[in-house]
């Protein structure tokens, strides 16, 4: 069995992300920064937007575009929690379980999400490929416990009872 966090090898021929419109969008950002390297986080976001995750091949491509080594890019990618270094489900759910939310029932909400999504455990993708669930540290919405993020949607005050209704919006 493969480790859930193992980086899958790219098997198909690699299609560059930075071509056409995406490359134009990246180049439009160059004048905003004094160095090309400063575009690294924005470029990685563009990769994730296009591919859903950041593969080693994409890291090499970003390096080529910005004049950085693949190893350097990987070092940066792995520092930050939001770049996926392996494929995730169609919808990625982040649940805040840090202490303030923990005081207000975040563990029960997380349990309901793991159960209802079919993921069963943190970091796993549901068998139908629909969801991946991760814990996240403090989402900065402690007064509205429990906050979750589904893809790019911020949802506040999630309780176990609300979970089925929220998940139903994401097919």
């Amino acid at each position: 069995m493969t480790h859930p966090n193992a980086t899958p090898l790219e098997t198909a021929a690699y299609e560059p992300v930075f071509a056409g419109e995406t490359l134009t969008r990246l180049e439009a950002l160059y004048p905003r920064y004094p160095t090309k390297q400063a575009l690294l986080l924005p470029a990685l976001w563009m990769v994730q937007e296009a591919r859903g995750w950041v593969s080693e091949a994409s890291m090499a491509e970003v390096g080529q575009v910005l004049g950085l080594t693949p190893a350097y890019v990987k070092g940066v990618v792995t520092f930050y929690t939001m770049y996926h270094t392996h494929p995730v489900g169609r919808h990625f759910i982040q649940v805040c379980t840090t202490s303030p939310c923990g005081l207000c029932g975040a563990d029960d909400t997380l349990e309901a999400i793991l159960r209802e999504s079919g993921c069963g455990q943190l970091g796993a993708t549901s068998p139908d490929g629909r969801f991946t669930v991760a814990e996240v540290e403090c989402l900065g919405a402690c007064g509205f416990a429990t906050p979750i993020i589904v893809d790019e949607d911020f949802v506040e005050s999630v309780t176990p009872e609300r979970v089925p209704g929220i998940l139903a919006r994401y097919q």
Binding site: A38, L66, T81, T98, S99, V136, E137, G140, F144
Partner: protein, 435 residues
Amino acid sequence: MGYPHPSHPRETVVLSKHFGDPAARTYQGWVQRGGYQAIRKALELGREPLIELVKQSGLRGRGGAGFPTGLKWSFMPKDDGKPHYLVCNADESEPGTFKDREILRWTPHQLIEGCLIEAFAIRAAVVYIFVRGEFTEIFPVLDEALREAYANNAAGRNIFGSGVDIDIVVHRGAGAYICGEETAMLNALEGKRGNPRIKPPFPAQAGAFGLPTTVNNVETLAAVPHIVVNGAEWYKGLSRGNPKSTGTKLFSVCGHVQRPGNYEVTMGFPMNDLIHDLAGGMRPGRTLKAVIPGGSSVPILTAEEAEACLMDYESIAEKGSMLGSGGMIVMDDTTDIVKTIWRYTRFYAHESCAQCTQCREGTSWTARVLERIIAGQGKPGDLDLLLDLSEQMTGKTICVLSDSCAAPVVSGIKKFRAEFDAYLSGSRTPALQAV
């Protein structure tokens, strides 16, 4: 989406006056509410008088450190001929704190105006607003507000015909609490791992891209236009007698209160009233047990300490804690203090950038020792071990993340030792399964 509560009569609404009002988000709406007068006034006033005005107001950094804002601006070189930068810290991620997101999502122009004023004062032609990657709903709001600001000549070339150029760029973080530390933020902005830098040099000498830079928190910047329009005396007058803590502050109240939310009060407001009146007090039948008053990085206060405390920098320091970011975590008598502190330490262990040994090893071992205690497998001497670890983690690293992990542990053991002992003696049922 709505703002959760109408303002309480005892609040002093300055920054939060238009929270919940969608019309205030637009450029025209903001102008109708008095917006963009402050930047015009600032441009007329000139740089040095402007910095002096902010110094006189007593405004202090609202991100956590409480450093005097005008003084910070005055550290920027004046005739060096180099490009300067302003970085707005919108990486709000201190557990218990959720005030900047309200400023960002309801009053983006309030922040933009603050950025313009400071950029002018410190001779910065570019402002980077560094927003944490998880704040997904903020990006479209900020993008639209900036588009409007550019369209109305409030940003870009020759703003309001003044001859001053100021560009504003939103930079998205990618998930790392440590990027809220200013030098880690600068590294992230430059396309690096978010490791804090050794200081000196301070950002005013060598900040973003090695050039003079000032980093200020969202709430600090949002207060600036009000000071420019109403004057330093007005701002100082909003204090309750302590001249070192002036103005209003947004306090985020969360945890076991009936009405969690942000409350804007004058500095020096009684913590007791904030918890029991504004935030609605405890749930029926419950009593207050403890409060972490300034975000999770500050020492815990007992109910007695909290109820006798005033909300300003000096008063909270007198009680042995810190005002920090103003994120108040309220805990009632049902709270398992040991488990709650364990979860904080897990947060810090997860968020350590790992470049300093004391932090990388210390946060992780602190979390593991606490975990075994609440799993019923604690060993005699574990509390001394935790206190020893905490001492090694305090004042010995590049940034204060490891100090922040130690703060709740040391204060928790000191003030709630019986709860730790109950787990260690086996008189309390383990709250976690043994691993």
